[in-house]
Subunit: 515 residues, 2 copies
């Protein structure tokens, strides 16, 4: 039998051009668009709705861990940054700087910054808030009784990026940043790993993104950190996306800001601090993991709407009965719970052809679409389309007809099954694309050869070189456009030597191209 030709909803497929496909999903699903302001995007209702869902679910986890939300200033005086040398060096190249606080009319026309209103000390628009939060922590921490101090903020940050890509790398982005202070290294490290595990579970749950968690090598650490851990997800083009990070900062930031406590013996002691964050970048990861040639497939827990009901209106007398049937169905579904929350269901009564509206929702990736015609209403039926199983073997939209009651009884389980399905599919794809048979640089070079379209990741062992020896490895990998993603926490044991240094291997690393 010939495979039927399917006319997909997007103008370009993943296979044809992955980068263009990514832009097409964002446009067609109405997630975001370029704003006209360099490097900044406008997040549109469906994209922002996904972020609101991420915020709600993540915020519950953060609060459950005893972390309290605060809000700290957008602007950071330059002198705050300068106190931590590695930190400022890491960010100096990409900081937006406020130098004036007033505009005046330009004799040549238009407005210019008023030279009379130049700031004595320039202010940096926060690229991250360790320094300004550290200054607050220094005020708040006095005694061991004040520890641990657990804070978080939901905020916008700015890193001036030369090459931007919506959701993945924008000059302004939205995130949460947790910042904590502890009495000792053990407690701070436990918090670092707690946040990492929170991110792993969040990615693998509500986002249905399989991820690998582990420490990053020295050269990939957050500027000023003693240890950086990440969760890494594999996109459909085989590249890695760092989807969240958690940092153990040692005492360096505490020293710079003066975060000290009186310990039980009465000694003034430096705190150990941590920071951890996830951002709107996660939405890019969801797109490149779950998207297909018909648009986004939004994981049900983060979908702004989980079920959309589309009445097939005919602009005639039958519409009233059809709408009444749909409204009753909507009310029934809105009473259901899935994932421990009320099901989100929308009755889309807007004018327009039902098939056009169907494809708009398919592209947005709403998990379940119900199309209801006049005869369905009369017969108490519904036509159900699962977004993750869009096409049948005949190349048609894969609708299943069933009694309304039957659908209501199964809808919650169906939503939960869609999440599981998306995860299982992504997990199988990723696992099949982790190559463990490469043991040296030549092997890497072959595996990541130019003509290989979507290579995956290589897991290999190494001796964890540092300093100049690490620099040489990084250079060799860079020549192949590769980076070390992290050291998986649950990797198999090592055996033999490091292909880069010839010394005994001590751990496994993931080598990949990355976003």
């Amino acid at each position: 039998m010939n495979k039927p030709t399917i006319k997909h909803a997007l103008p370009v497929t993943r296979e044809e051009d992955f980068a263009q496909w990514y832009q097409a999903v964002i446009a067609e699903a109405e997630l975001a668009e370029e704003s006209g302001v360099r490097g900044c995007m406008v997040i549109k209702p469906w994209g922002y709705g996904i972020w609101e869902r991420i915020q709600k679910l993540m915020d519950e986890q953060i609060k459950a861990a005893g972390v309290e939300n605060c809000y700290f200033p957008l602007f950071i005086p330059l002198s705050y940054f300068a106190k931590e040398a590695d930190h400022v060096e890491g960010f100096a190249k990409e900081m937006a700087v406020v130098t004036h606080h007033r505009l005046i009319a330009d004799p040549k026309g238009g407005l210019v910054p008023d030279p009379e209103a130049k700031l004595e000390e320039p202010l940096v628009v926060r690229p991250t808030s360790e320094t300004v939060i550290g200054a607050a922590m220094a005020r708040w921490v006095q005694s061991w009784r004040d520890l641990p101090l657990l804070t978080n903020q939901w905020a916008n940050v700015v890193r001036w990026e030369m090459r931007t890509r919506m959701f993945l790398r924008t000059s302004e982005f939205l995130w949460q940043e947790g910042h904590t202070a502890h009495a000792d290294e053990a407690d701070a490290m436990a918090e670092t790993l707690r946040a990492l595990e929170m991110y792993r579970a969040f990615a693998e749950g509500p986002l249905a993104l399989p991820v690998i968690a582990g420490p990053k090598p020295e050269n990939e650490r957050f500027p000023g950190a003693v240890a950086t851990y990440s969760i890494e997800a594999m996109m459909q083009d085989g590249k890695a996306l760092q989807a969240g990070t958690s940092h153990y900062l040692g005492t360096g930031f505490a020293e710079a800001a003066g975060i000290r406590y009186q310990d039980k013996e009465g000694q003034q002691t430096l705190c150990h601090t941590t920071s951890w964050g996830v951002s709107t970048r996660m939405i890019g990861g969801v797109i490149m993991t779950h998207g297909d040639d018909d648009g986004l497939r939004t994981p049900p827990q983060v979908a702004p709407q989980q079920i959309v009901i589309l009445p097939m209106l005919r602009d005639n007398d039958g519409d009233a009965a059809l709408l009444a049937y749909c409204e009753t169905l909507r009310a029934e579904l809105a009473k259901l719970s899935a994932f421990g929350e009320r099901v989100r269901v929308l009755l889309d009564k807007r004018p327009g052809k039902a098939t056009q509206k169907r494809w708009a929702w398919v592209k947005k990736g709403v998990p379940l679409i119900l199309e209801i015609g006049g005869r369905d209403a009369e017969g108490g039926q519904v036509s159900v389309l699962r977004r993750d199983r869009l096409w049948n073997d005949a190349g048609k939209a894969n609708f299943t007809g069933m009694a309304q009651g039957e659908f209501v009884a199964m809808a919650s389980a169906e939503l939960e099954d869609i999440e599981r399905s998306l995860y299982t599919e992504a997990r199988a794809r990723r696992d099949a694309q982790i190559e463990r048979g490469v043991s040296d640089l030549a092997g890497l070079s072959t595996y990541f050869a130019e003509d290989r379209k979507f290579p995956g990741w290589v897991e290999m062992q190494w001796s964890r070189p540092t300093g100049a020896a690490l620099d040489r490895v990084v250079e060799q990998l860079k020549a192949l456009k590769l980076t070390i993603r992290n050291t998986p926490l649950d990797a198999a044991p090592v055996d033999g030597t490091c292909p880069f240094t010839g010394e005994p291997a001590v751990e496994r690393i993931l080598v990949a191209r990355a976003y």
Copy 2:
């Protein structure tokens, strides 16, 4: 009988120094503090928790009105602003301007903005987003079918203030800004008034703030607006606080940004736009309306915790049974609903003396405090303190003992009663301080005489002068440190002449000192 002398919890009373008292509430209730960054504050967990509650409740209202949340850029190119002359003139004096996107080492030490990384066009940190959202609307609106376009964002904005005051006037503040586009004036005006009514109901409900809603006079309009409406609340020192505004913007912003639609006849037509916002300023209004000499009294719907249970721990064997009793009580209370939501209850198990902890919660204004001692636990009793009725006639903390079951049965109603009580008290105070017997400038001068401590507001009639005639009125009022707050929508009819112009009066205005 002598009135007992009460030792209040704050270092300064309202009567002694209202401005210092305000700062004391903010400090002692741990709402916020100065950040060290000029004009910017740090919002601490209890203050941010109140903002999170405001956000949640207001966001539900916004979504229920069909308005969709988006996110727009923090930075606005100067040229966007320049298109609307009144608008840019209104904000030019207080805009933070980004001029560079990189720092480099200064030969003299430290870091400086890199002259090589100067922006071709300076970027303004948004003081409000009409211009950048207008640019998006111009892309999104094509036909009459796209209207109304209803958007909102929750964001930080920056207005460089010379004299700042926490929550009331800070260089950076948090708010929501609704922006909508409509086919005609009638529809846009209806939306302007819908938002105003949403704010009025929100202030008078969850915030328990009596407010007066109405249009502002011409000289007090938002820069570029055709009409500005406000809700005005009276603080305990008699001053007015503008707690929310809603603007009908006419077609000026639509013309500047090019927001046009094809109407049903095929004509390109300018949209009529609106904008409306409330901010963290509302928290300042809550403090100055409901605070007393013992700290804040937080209205129950916006209190991060509504009931706090304080076990009177004794560091002995009895503590385990006491804690078990308290935990059972907590779980019972957490099952209750008030205001249509689950009750928020905290069992404060931290070490420390119960009375010290009690006063910390009193200052934060948690609506209900339960103190539980060992004997209470044995006898199934609780001791209840209503924050809004803190002192009894003997000048002692006004605890009421009752059976646990009795308290559980009444707790929801008690919370709802506290909100009502706070509103009633504030309403009675305000109504008593609106003076309607002043009919001319001399009367105003007498009413607002220097030696009068907390004057209220004067409601008087006028002829609604414009242009130079209005300027003269504004100058006369300014000499008395007075402003016109608004024209109450539900004021009594007028009769006679305007004391400023001698012309026939057409409406009533509120004249007051203001924050």
